[in-house]
Symmetry: none
DNA sequence: GCAAATTAATGATTTATTCAAG
DNA sequence: CTTGAATAAATCATTAATTTGC
């Protein structure tokens, strides 16, 4: 295997004091539920010990500079959450999308967007923030989940119909969806097809930001390139 | 809007010492287990069609403010990348860990760390940056991959040995590695064991940063909470 | 010896699953 | 039961050690 035996030499190099053993455990324990996840991966902890909302949502602003504390308690500029929406982030739980947000997201989805890149997420988040609290990761997750669930819905659907007709399992998806208009770019199904531009005014401005050129590399999160 | 401009603080911090000694990455090679690769994982794909490297690397510094675009194309600036080292981020491709980095990461892994949270990643990255260019996402990915691959290695191994002896698949792997001391926290093998504190001096400073409180929520990436 | 070709290792992404809030 | 959130598995892609032909 790798076995980079940097044998000697390596440890000496350490100008830093590392090696301190026995330090405090950052993420201790916490048994997960009854489940038996095969692997151990201690990460299962999460004792939400401190009653305080530990699960602060991810905050890009702060992640860069931890010391910026930030209690997003945010009495928040209470722009009236227009929508009879919640999202007041009471204890700081999960994102609770507003109707407008969902609507816009679905529009983008139908427009063909599947895995927006960092820049797009940034823009979308900005826009959606007008309708309620939201963060980039929420947008990211929404697309991930929506895509996955549409996919399985289709699969299920096609499976249910499979015995009705001899449909090759290839294009499963598409068929069933009753998408209305502008439904071009289908899923990223096997028969992948280059999606057409999903629309969203804010994203039109890309040029403004991407002066360089396409700049296909910007990414908000490490886990989703803009496509490959 | 929010437009996080996280001032260029954190990421820039990386002073550029790099050039970590001439030690090269020992590199792959090495017989993996002669075992039969399980099905998938063919990895042999790669129709590297376009010669050009489209895949621009991710650049956190720029993702915040797109305008810092950057064309890593670099139309082959001829100067020879002198450094015997890699990681000069020549065309700016993927992270090429130095031995020290790998060594430290493995130490942390053996110490029990599996899915560091944002803060930890931040710290680790900071430390590892002393030995070569590196970004938070690299650390994140490293743990993901390492964990997954250790897991499959074990699985493969246990499967291969299963008929030889009734050995619990627990400690297979490592054997080969001649790591010296402090090797506690075993893998995340089935026989889950609460890993002991992986050590890393830098993580001791947590207090300093988490002034707020534990602030167990900071996340670097949306995809890895500190546990659930 | 050296460079193109091979290939194992592994960095980076995407997709599938699972967990859990509401 | 729906779906936001997170993790694990599967994939894809690039790199460098090794192999091969000269």
């Amino acid at each position: 295997m790798k076995v980079h035996h940097f044998a000697r030499g390596f440890w000496e190099v350490q100008e830093q004091p590392f090696l301190t053993l026995g330090c405090k455990r950052l993420r201790p324990l916490a048994p997960k539920l009854p489940i038996t996840r095969d692997i151990c991966d201690d990460t299962t902890n999460q004792n939400k010990i401190l009653g305080v909302s530990i699960t602060q949502p991810f905050d890009l602003k702060s992640f860069i500079r931890p010391e910026t504390g930030r209690r997003k308690i945010e009495s928040s500029d209470d722009h009236k959450r227009v929508s009879a929406q919640v999202e007041t982030n009471p204890g700081g739980t999960r994102w609770n999308p507003t109707q407008e947000q969902i609507g816009l997201l679905e529009m983008l989805y139908r427009g063909g967007m599947r895995t927006p890149n960092a820049q797009q997420i940034e823009k979308i988040t900005e826009q959606l923030a007008k309708y309620g609290k939201i963060e980039g990761k929420n947008v990211f997750y929404w697309f991930q989940n929506h895509k996955a669930r549409e996919r399985q819905k289709q699969k299920r659907s096609s499976l249910g119909l499979i015995h009705c007709s001899r449909k090759p399992p290839s294009i499963i998806d598409t068929s069933s969806i009753p998408i209305t208009a502008g439904d071009m770019g289908r899923e990223d199904s096997p028969g992948k097809r280059k999606c057409r531009p999903w629309t969203f005014e804010c994203l039109e401005m890309d040029k403004k930001y991407c002066k360089e050129e396409e700049d296909r590399t910007l990414k908000l999160f490490p886990l989703h390139p803009e496509g490959r």
